[in-house]
């Protein structure tokens, strides 16, 4: 029987008897990703020189790529968002890829993770909209271009983080479900092929599980994980960038 479940609850503890705090696999993965990124950042950001070594050239190349991407998408005046976009992209990518280690569940295969990130994007958008147009200016924005559109605008404002969260979550979780299904299917086919062998141990070896899932994993984990991280970062850049127009345009409004 194949069961599609969410992350396992590792343990629950009571927070001074006020409420129960549950620690799931997602939290563990998320914590490991955070730890990895912190260590990597500190290691890679150390000993920078004017004449870079091979490690520094690579790091600089990646950082430059990130800044170029932010500049192209959000504009020169929004370069200050680059570190956040970089952190988001790395968290998303590693959060997905951590499942490839085999011991952990992808942090992004949990809607709680992706909705949190999507809400951060929305909060940033709202914050900068209110900052640039004032609170009532922001509310007035919902009535544009005509008043009739107001409910649609509100729905789209809510749909924005939800769709972002579900897109990321669905891709990663769906990938893991598919991988699981394929594993089970391959085990069943293996059992059929090897069923004629009288030895119970040998006939139970899922021979087809060797190799085939690795190829599929290239797509479902590596490729999809990278694309989803990129899409999520890109959407964040576009939404936040739209909320922060260039200074000249802001004055013209």
């Amino acid at each position: 029987m194949i069961e599609v479940t969410g992350p396992k609850i590792l343990f629950t503890f009571s927070f001074f008897g006020l409420f129960d705090v549950t620690i799931t696999e997602t939290v563990l993965s998320s914590f490991l990703v955070m730890l990895t990124l912190v260590i990597l950042s500190i290691c890679l950001g150390r000993n920078l020189k004017k004449r870079p070594g091979r490690r520094q050239v690579l790091v600089e190349k990646v950082v430059q790529m990130l800044y170029n991407m932010v500049r192209d998408t959000m504009g020169e005046h929004n370069l200050r968002f680059a570190p956040y976009i970089g952190a988001l992209f790395c968290s998303s990518l590693l959060g997905t890829l951590i499942s490839m280690l085999g011991f952990f569940r992808s942090a992004t295969a949990d809607i709680s993770t992706t909705i949190t990130w999507a809400l951060v994007t929305s909060v940033l958008v709202w914050f900068y909209n209110i900052k640039n147009n004032g609170f009532f200016g922001w509310l007035k924005g919902f009535t544009e271009p005509i008043v009739v559109m107001t409910p649609m605008n509100i729905v789209s404002e809510i749909a924005q983080p939800v769709s972002m969260a579900f897109r990321h979550f669905g891709n990663v979780a769906g990938g893991s479900v598919l991988t699981m299904l394929i594993y089970n299917a391959l085990a069943a086919v293996s059992a059929l092929i090897l069923g004629w062998i009288p030895n119970a141990f040998i006939s139970s070896i899922p021979i087809l599980q060797v190799g085939i899932p690795a190829v599929l994993s290239l797509y479902f984990d590596l490729f999809s994980g990278f694309i989803q991280a990129l899409v999520f970062s890109m959407l964040t850049m576009v939404y936040v960038g739209a909320a922060c127009p260039p200074p000249a345009e802001k004055n013209a409004k």
Partner: protein, 172 residues
């Protein structure tokens, strides 16, 4: 996989997972910004600035050199023109002096010649006067001689011959 009986539903919102995720994202953001992006970006920008400065310096030096070259070339052509002018002037002056000298020499020569002519004329006059004196003395001598003796025709001729001979001797 970690063994645990309890699992969450496939699609479920867990506020604690959200809070931990948010904290982790915040930590990653702050750490990456402080330890990775800021220093690396600063290094890239610094290097870029250094390169830009060097290029600007080089451009400046090039412009300076070009200006200097233009100035020296202008000065050189000026000097050339000056040289030409000086040479021309000197040539002209030399020619003038040449002519002047020639003219002076000619004048001097003419003056010398004139003086010589005058001297000759003077000498000639003086000589003529001398001769005239001598001839008169001689005429007196001859007259006295004639008066003292009876002169024959043959003596006349002899007398005249000797007179002329004497004349020639005294003139030589």
């Amino acid at each position: 996989m970690l063994n645990s009986a309890a699992t969450e539903p496939f699609i479920s919102l867990n506020i604690w997972t959200s809070i931990f995720t948010l904290c982790n994202l915040l930590i990653v953001f702050l750490i990456m910004k402080k330890f990775l992006f800021k220093p690396v970006k600063k290094m890239i920008d610094d290097r870029q600035k250094e390169i830009d400065d060097q290029y600007a310096d080089a451009e400046q030096s090039k412009a300076d050199a070009a200006e200097l070259k233009a100035r020296y070339e202008a000065r050189l052509s000026e000097a050339n023109a000056e040289k030409e002018a000086i040479l021309k002037d000197a040539y002209r002056k030399a020619q003038l002096r040449d002519e002047e000298m020639l003219r002076q020499a000619q004048e001097q020569a003419a003056a010398t010649l004139r003086r010589a002519d005058e001297q000759i004329a003077l000498e000639k006059k003086r000589a003529m006067n001398d001769i005239k004196d001598e001839v008169s003395v001689m005429a007196v001598d001859i007259a006295s001689a004639v008066l003292a003796r009876d002169i024959k025709k043959s003596e006349h001729a002899e007398l005249i011959d000797s007179f002329i001979e004497n004349l020639g001797e005294s003139h030589d």
